[in-house]
């Protein structure tokens, strides 16, 4: 089977720092691919390169077999790649619903919408509230609150809800549950399985091993800026995965997986 999204030999250097060191990557259609690795291994840089937020110094990226070097995130989004960034990419002073619909606002029906281009505040707020409730985020009292006034977890919920609301060709989630509570994390996992059911492949970056091993079809282990191995979570234990990613053990021939 052809990978839907793949990369070969990605390199990214920042001055004296090397973030990606000839990294490879493959995402198969319809799968949940987990990416794990130490802090600073280069996971976020990798996915930022995939979706155009970072321009790699070397290497090539293919979407459905075609070379596609995105130079900005808009291009990736238009190509159907939706991303939850680790730093969330929310506008602090804007409200929750403004943030959820940024760049895809809903306009009023009729003349007000087509001529006066008036936004349908009510509809956006309602949909935002629904999406958040789906995630189990029941503590948000005021839906027109500025995002900067939300708690860390509420903020992350908004970012996840946004990506989930606009399903597309590939969904990338960089540590979507890091700040979330037990209940909210569980809902995100359910949501990921939901998205998969719709046939959309997902890249999930996470440090939570039980979660990773629960939902992932394959696990990409990243170490020191490159892909160390790809393992099958049914064949390897969590301990193996952790040992590989921290350098305690070296995987054998696992790259071919």
């Amino acid at each position: 089977m052809e990978p839907i999204l793949s990369a070969r030999g990605l390199v990214k250097r920042y001055g004296r720092v090397t973030a990606l060191d000839h990294a490879d990557f493959d995402l198969m259609p319809g799968e949940i691919l987990a990416v794990i690795g130490d802090n600073g291994a280069g996971k976020s840089t990798l996915i930022k390169a995939l979706c155009g937020a970072v321009n790699p110094d070397e290497g090539e990226i293919r979407l459905e077999g075609q070379v596609m070097n995105f130079t900005n995130p808009m291009q990736a989004r238009n190509a159907g790649i939706e991303t939850v960034y680790q730093n969330l990419a929310l506008s602090p002073a804007l409200s929750i619903s403004d943030n959820m619909f940024l760049g895809r606002e809903i306009r009023k029906k009729g003349l007000a919408g087509s001529v006066l281009r008036m936004l349908d505040r009510g509809a956006m707020e309602k949909r935002a509230r629904d999406k958040l409730s789906e995630l189990g985020l029941m503590t948000i009292q005021n839906i027109s609150q500025a995002v900067e006034t939300l708690s860390g977890g509420q903020r992350q919920g908004v970012a996840v809800a946004r990506a989930a609301a606009f399903g597309s060709k590939v969904v990338i989630m960089d540590e979507p549950t890091a700040a979330l509570g037990v209940k909210e994390s569980r809902r995100v996992l359910e949501l990921i399985l939901d998205v998969k059911k719709r046939g959309i492949p997902i890249i999930l970056i996470s440090h939570n091993m039980p979660h990773v091993f629960e939902v992932a079809d394959r696990v990409h282990i990243h170490r020191l800026g490159r892909r160390l191995a790809v393992i099958n979570p049914k064949e390897h234990s969590m301990s193996d995965a952790v040992a590989y990613m921290t350098g305690a053990k070296v995987p054998e021939g696992a790259v071919a997986a």
């Binding site: 929310l90 002073a93 760049g103 006066l116 936004l119 189990g136 948000i140 009292q141 039980p210």
Partner: protein
């Protein structure tokens, strides 16, 4: 695939209602909440306080419909420029060229009718086109070359000022000559009386502009994008906004608004004088915006606040003038009042927390 961890299984029973707390609404609390959710009202309070202050000090002379409408006439041009400046400042930029764009625009409008004998429509279109083009150049340099807005507009300020002086040879066009050619350029000078109040079309244009921009900023996608870009450009870009388009559009729009200011200014002044380039419109416009509660760091503030900010400055200057201060003392008192007004503003915000 493994199973959820043990402790996650109890989640099915968790509560599914949105959190709510009882509200104890005393009158003061209500006011607080109102101010908290509509920060543009704070400068309005300061404005009213200031009017009251001068009204008490000078009595009817100040507190008359005539005086108050006169203040509106005096601030119309600066008010329009402040609106343009506000858009740019909301994107975390600054437009030092806005004043000279206006001057170049009215010089061109005037020259078209007086020197080249063009019809008023053509002259106006030319004026607006040039103003919009100047704005577009700023926007292009800021968004595509990623230069700091301060430097870009400092540069175009100089360039446009020089072009304006060289092109016009510094020649003033007299009101009589303009009027002889067309009445259209003076249309915003037309005034009508409602009792003692005198309202010019220029004042109405300013108020109309603020209403339109307020609508645009709050009820259209473009308006929200302006805020998003100024708030955190990286986040906006990642969230899928074409920041460079938004920036270019904003600066261009600011230029066009300067074109409107040019037209209104011809109406107010009658004659058309290129040496207006030296007038410090930038500082006045930025001051009005900041007093109105716009953050120079972008993304925060309401444009209605700027309208009140403009009026605050106008009321101050008229009030001081009626208090019979001589020009040097007026400068001093203006300084004191500016700080005072914003201090009160800040205090109200704090109390309404």
């Amino acid at each position: 695939m493994s199973q959820p961890q043990e402790f996650e299984k109890v989640l099915t029973g968790s509560v599914t209602t949105v959190a709510q707390f009882e509200d104890h609404k005393s009158g003061l609390k209500r006011l607080q909440h109102f101010l908290h959710s509509s920060p543009a009202m704070v400068p309005l309070i300061v404005l009213l306080a200031l009017i009251l202050f001068f009204g008490i000090a000078k009595g009817e002379k100040f507190f008359s419909a005539y005086t108050l409408t006169l203040i509106m006439q005096q601030v119309a041009v600066v008010g329009i420029l402040a609106a343009a400046q506000t858009l740019v400042v909301l994107t975390a930029g600054i437009d030092l060229a806005i004043g000279v764009i206006m001057v170049l625009s009215f010089v061109i409008m005037g020259n078209m009718v007086v020197s080249y004998g063009m019809p008023a429509g053509v002259a106006l279109i030319a004026g607006f086109l040039v103003a919009g083009f100047c704005g577009w150049v700023n926007g292009f340099l800021v968004s595509k070359l990623k230069l700091p807005p301060f430097i870009v507009t400092l540069g175009t300020w100089n360039i446009i000022m020089a072009i304006c002086l060289i092109y016009s040879e510094n020649a003033t066009m007299r009101e009589a000559d303009v009027t002889a050619a067309t009445p259209w350029l003076h249309i915003f000078g037309i005034s009508f009386k409602i009792g003692p109040a005198v309202v010019t079309l220029g004042v109405l244009a300013m108020i109309g502009l603020y209403v339109v921009l307020w609508y645009m900023l709050n009820y259209t996608a473009f308006g929200r994008h302006i805020y998003a870009v100024g708030d955190d450009p990286d986040a906006a870009e990642l969230a899928g906004i074409r920041t460079s388009k938004v920036l270019t559009a904003t600066y261009t729009l600011a230029g066009l608004i300067a074109g409107l200011a040019a037209w209104v200014s011809i109406g107010r002044n009658g004659s058309i004088s290129p040496s207006t380039v030296v007038t410090d419109f930038n500082l006045q416009a930025i001051t009005a915006a900041v007093i109105g509660g716009i953050s120079l760091f972008g993304g925060r503030g309401s444009i209605l606040g700027v309208l009140f900010g403009t009026l605050i400055v106008g009321v101050m200057s008229m009030g001081l003038n009626m208090l019979n201060a001589d020009p040097q003392w007026k400068v001093l008192l203006t300084g004191v009042l500016i700080i005072g007004a914003v201090a009160i503003d800040q205090w109200i915000r704090k109390v309404s927390g």
